[in-house]
């Protein structure tokens, strides 16, 4: 049985091209052109993932994401355009998993889609491995290539949150909330400082990070440098 993808866009041409493409990639595709239709379609046939345009005639992708998150953890990829940065961040903060910029390449969209589908369950184990990094969560112990990496408590928590959501784009707000608590949500500069400290300790070459990647203006994600 193929996985079901819900595509939401108010442009009929994009909807048609995307659904044809996704069917060609072996998915089952539902389409919706409005926020209302999208929520109805998702309720009728719960999708494995949602591809969601940010600007809809009767609402926006952020509202749809927030509504979906009340009952499903299905990953959401947002279709965003230049000039919609603020909405994009809002959607990510509301629980969207990733975004692609219009006009996107089909290969990129498919890669992102497969990535979010792979990790739709967050890593729960006590031991997480990412590339040469080994993170022992209960012991708060990190090694790289078998060698101990000493981290401060906040650096460790930052790495832990990134690792538990490996591959997923985490916005500044999410990271601040998870690591420092809700009252630090406006303090993005804290985050940048700690990320650079963390990179100095875990990256082989901190000026060319391979583990902790920056998504400009949006947030950070932890990736396995050995996986393409």
């Amino acid at each position: 049985l193929s996985q079901r993808i819900l595509v939401v866009d108010d442009e009929p041409q994009i909807l048609r091209a995307l659904s044809t493409t996704l069917r060609g990639a072996g998915f089952t595709v539902d389409t919706a052109a409005t926020a209302e239709d999208a929520l109805a379609a998702a309720a009728a046939h719960p999708p494995a993932a949602v591809i969601l345009d940010l600007v809809l005639p009767d609402g926006n992708g952020t509202e749809v994401t927030r509504e979906l998150r009340t009952w499903t953890e299905a990953p959401v990829i947002v279709l965003s355009a230049v000039g919609e940065e603020r909405e994009k961040i809002a959607a990510l903060d509301a629980g969207a998993d990733d975004y692609v910029m219009k006009p996107f390449s089909v290969d990129e969209l498919l890669a992102r889609l497969r990535a979010v589908l792979r990790r739709s369950a967050p890593e729960a184990g006590p031991l997480i491995e990412v590339g040469e990094l080994q993170i022992d969560i209960p012991q708060r112990f990190v090694t790289r290539d078998g060698e101990r990496v000493k981290l401060t408590p906040h650096e460790f928590d930052l790495l832990r949150v990134l690792a538990q959501n490996r591959g997923k784009l985490l916005t500044h707000q999410m990271l601040l909330r998870e690591v420092w608590g809700p009252s630090y949500q406006g303090e993005a500069h804290y985050l940048h400082v700690y990320v650079s400290h963390l990179r100095a300790k875990i990256e082989p070459n901190p000026s060319r990070p391979r583990y902790v990647l920056t998504e400009p203006g949006a947030g950070y994600r932890l990736v396995d440098p050995n996986a393409s």
Binding site: Q13, A17, T21, A81, V106
Partner: protein, 452 residues
Amino acid sequence: MRNRFWVPLLGSAAAVTIATLAVWALSSIAPTLSLGVIYVFAVLPTAVYWGVRWALAVAVASMLAFNFFFLPPVHTFALNDSANWFALTVYSATAFVVGELAARARRRAADAEQREREASLLAEIAVHLLGGHGLDGELGWIEDSAAEVLGVPNARIEFGPRRSSTGETIPLEVEEHAVGTIYLPLRADPNVEVRRRFLPGLAALLAVGVDRSRLEQEALEAETLRRSDLVKTALLRAVSHDLRSPLTGITTAIGALRNQTLVFNDNDRRDLLDTIAVDAERLTRLVGDLLDLSRLEAGGAEPALEVWALDELVHETIDHLAGGDRVDLGGESPLVNVDAVQIQRVLANLIENALKFSPPSSRVHVHITATRQEAIVRVVDQGPGIAEAELERVFEPFYRGDRPSGAGLGLAIARGFAAANGGRVWAESRPGQGTTFALALPIVEVPAGLPA
């Protein structure tokens, strides 16, 4: 200048003469010597009206007249009695003191009046400025009132750098900082004390007014800039969205077709190719529309005018239109002097718009009428109509109302081309009763000698 001398002179002479006549009239019933006091009544009004100098002159003239006409030996200026000498001296002193007192009282009164005028003018300006008004359009009465207060025929106030003038220029300063200049006519000679008292106050108030005007201007400019920035941002977003949507369709379809791992049947492949064709067509139109619009806004859409029968242009437009079979044409056949390509563009945009907003099976009626000056094409649809408040807004570029479909450029372009051809486009509608878009063009008289 002449009045300042002759009027007091004649007045003083009259005062002495009247007093002399009064003494002469009363001399039969009272001792002559005691009547000298009557001359005080000549000195007093002179002092009040013309000042202490004239009063002194009147006092001296009075005593000479009293001596000459009444004191023995009469008709000489000699005196033969020491009592008369004494009386004359006392009268002279009295007249002089009274005159001086009266003149001083008069000066005080005049001074108080002057201060009151200055204060009330400053108060009036202050009230005006505090009321939130600027100085724009108010300088006229301020100049006139200031001239009056300064006792000069006229005055001009300017805020630029001081320029040379045939008259007198006095800087208006607040704490050594020049606010402006007041220009007075040559030899106006305003009272120095009044100047010292009045001008700093005036300068301070004008400084407030200038500041206020400048702040208001700055606020206005900032607001205008902010608005035009908002408009630009909105336009940019609209354009980028409209350009990106078809581009996204095209790149998606091409990316899908080129991806070897995806599996498509013939139908899918045709769908993807269709997407590319339709979106490429959309992009072409949009780019054309944007070019037309920018040309119209830059005034670069010079029409190539020729005389055409309007119904012919309409007919041809309908024939080339997708959905043209849903359009009926009727009415007259007036001649117009227009650029055929541009006017057909206007007609196409109006009719396409009508088709787009009508129920799919309904018909669009096009009707041509002619008045003596104008030919009018009306495009009547059976759509949902347009609210009164929107009737003008639909002609704004990128305005799409509540049903986003298309870039919102068609009607703006129609209006632009109509205007370039000397015509007008407008909309008439009542919600729920369809919309009429009208194009009016100036009519051409049939040239004499040609069959109509």
